[in-house]
Amino acid sequence: MSKTFMGWPAFPKAAETATADGQLRANVRRATHTIRTKRAALVDERPDWQDLRDTAAALKDDVLAHLDTYLEQIEEKVTAAGGTVHWAGDAEEANRIVTRLVQDTGETEIVKVKSMLTEEIGLDGALAAAGISARETDLAAAIVQLGDDLPSHVVVPALHRNRSEIRDVFVREMGKHGRPAPEGLSDDPEELAEAARLHMREKFLTSRVAVSGANFMVAETGTLCIVESEGNGRMCLTLADTLISVVGIEKVIPTWQDLEVYLQLLARSATGERMAPYTSTWTGVTDGDGPRAFHLVLVDNGRTRALADPVGRQALRCIRCGACMNICPVYERTGGQAYGSVYPGPIGAILNPLLKGADDPQTASLPYASSLCGACNEVCPVKIRFTDVLLELRHDIAEGDAKVKHPAERVALKAVAGAMGHGALWNAAVKAAGTAGRLVPKNAQLPGPLRGWTDSRALPDIPEESFRSWWKRTEGGTK
């Protein structure tokens, strides 16, 4: 049974553990800084980068505003090209559809191309419960699967692991699922990649069913697109007899020509490459080339909930490049698992509550997992205003419909606002602070929720004379 984020602690608690793990922090820091630097260099060589972002955002807004007609168009085109389209309202239904499709082929071991959506809906676990073993073929996804680990990044799911950890997983686990790791495997990345090549090749050649996601679906033509680096995607899309693509309903782009916008943005943003090594596009089935059966499973699973949020719906523009997590100072210190979701980082902090509702303490902790520094706003290739959405979600928790509430905080902030809105009360409070300042030692530990401040900082000096007292005493410094 594959591991899930079920029962994961709220962000502050998970982050406390993660930030204390020096190895994890070193691994995440190295990875995020490497991609950041490569991305920045490639963005710099495009004088029209902001223009590309503007177009990409506007196209996605058009898609979201007319999603019903675009999806109907895709259904029509895929069907006309020999594919079969299925609709799933939620995770459970999507898993049921895929399980049945696999069962209809009679196969019990299938191969998978890395797909965040299938992680989101827990497809591997659902298939396993039906006696079907789904093997991940992307190197990082396979590292996570073999290690019974959880993903920590949308592009590089095993980014939190270093080479020796990966070697140990390969040596221990590969033999249980097929060809074992070669004798005497070292932790050299080339050797590790070669071990994965040998282990997987056997599966590619014999598997008759493949499951994938998709980066884009073109409404105009019914074409699906997958962008990848290793070739495992091509293997799955080409060698299987039956291809099942499980795709979120928001992955639509209007026309074939529009791919030129996203293909120029995606790899630069995701991995710091001009293009990823392999991009595959296909439309239904093709006689004599590739799978004979193609199923497209369109999945909602909370996307229409997000779509109904006038501010939050922009999160559905996301093309899963991971640039927001690579630039995020919070993600850099915690890694992805602290977010308790397959979608970590800034996008996870907004997407999870939008998809699920901030109705449990873990999900409701995510909109606060940000210092609102805004670095993500600047790198996002589809111009998601993360900070706007975070603030909207916090408002939803503080004063709106979200089920999780923070009553003590509410009372405290209300009281402060009350005093601040009242001239005399506020005057008295500022004066009292000056008096209190003499009584609190600089290295004191604050109690309760305020402990977070004094854990790593000294308290500021509280001056005896506030600005307002000085102004009054000196008449604005004139006396």
Binding site: D62, D68, F204, M235, W256, M275, P277, T281
Partner: protein
């Protein structure tokens, strides 16, 4: 109500506040590579060579008449090669290895046991060092370009576009397309780029001006 109807209904409810007109989409990005003057084919070809080389692909220039020699050179280390329908037989005249024609289609195991594949392409994009295969004559189905470890691809100067927007409109989306930008690679282990995971580990481009 079917799930299809339910999802579509939820979408319509969720977007009821939005105007029904199409969203106006600005299109001011470049349609050519920033460093290349539109229409300058030789600059585009030079950029393609630079980018392919950066990826670790091998680029050899060859006149049309010298292709048989260039193919023989590119395939020198290969004992066998798969050849799709529509590829001129003459190109293989100087090479002494085993030629496997993909008609009837070779099995996966046969392809896996073949050293190389020789194809043409449908288009190339200079800025990203990309070759596009669309399954046309000389390219064949997708599996043969995937399982052998060496891919030799013949690219003509006239097929080279400076950037993606110039190329994409000329391609037929109804065909399965493979866009190849350098050999298979991964950076999944400590962000260290390793060439060659599942696809061909070596890519040789024969560039015909």
């Amino acid at each position: 109500m079917s799930s299809r109807e339910a999802v579509l209904r939820r979408i319509r409810q969720a977007t009821a506040d939005l105007p029904k007109d199409p969203v106006s989409v600005p299109r001011s990005y470049l349609r050519h590579a920033p460093a290349v003057v539109p229409g300058d084919r030789s600059a585009a070809v030079a950029l393609l060579v630079e980018r392919l080389t950066e990826y670790g692909a091998e680029v050899r220039r060859s006149a049309e008449a010298d292709l048989p020699a260039a193919v023989a050179g590119a395939l020198a280390a290969a004992g066998s090669a798969v050849v799709p329908a529509g590829l001129p037989d003459a190109w293989l005249a100087r090479w002494s290895g085993v030629v496997r024609r993909d008609a009837p289609p070779l099995t996966h195991a046969e392809l896996d046991a073949t050293d190389a594949v020789l194809t043409t392409c449908a288009a190339a994009v200079a800025e990203s060092g990309t070759l596009v295969l669309d399954g046309g004559p000389g390219q064949g189905r997708r599996a043969p370009t995937l399982l052998p470890d060496l891919h030799v691809c013949v690219v003509r100067g006239a097929q080279v576009h400076s950037a993606m927007p110039e190329a994409i409109g000329r391609l037929a989306p109804a065909r399965p397309l493979t866009w190849i930008s350098g050999p298979s690679a991964t950076a999944d282990i400590e962000m260290i780029r390793v060439r060659g995971v599942h696809g061909p580990r070596r890519l040789t481009v024969l560039l015909v001006p």
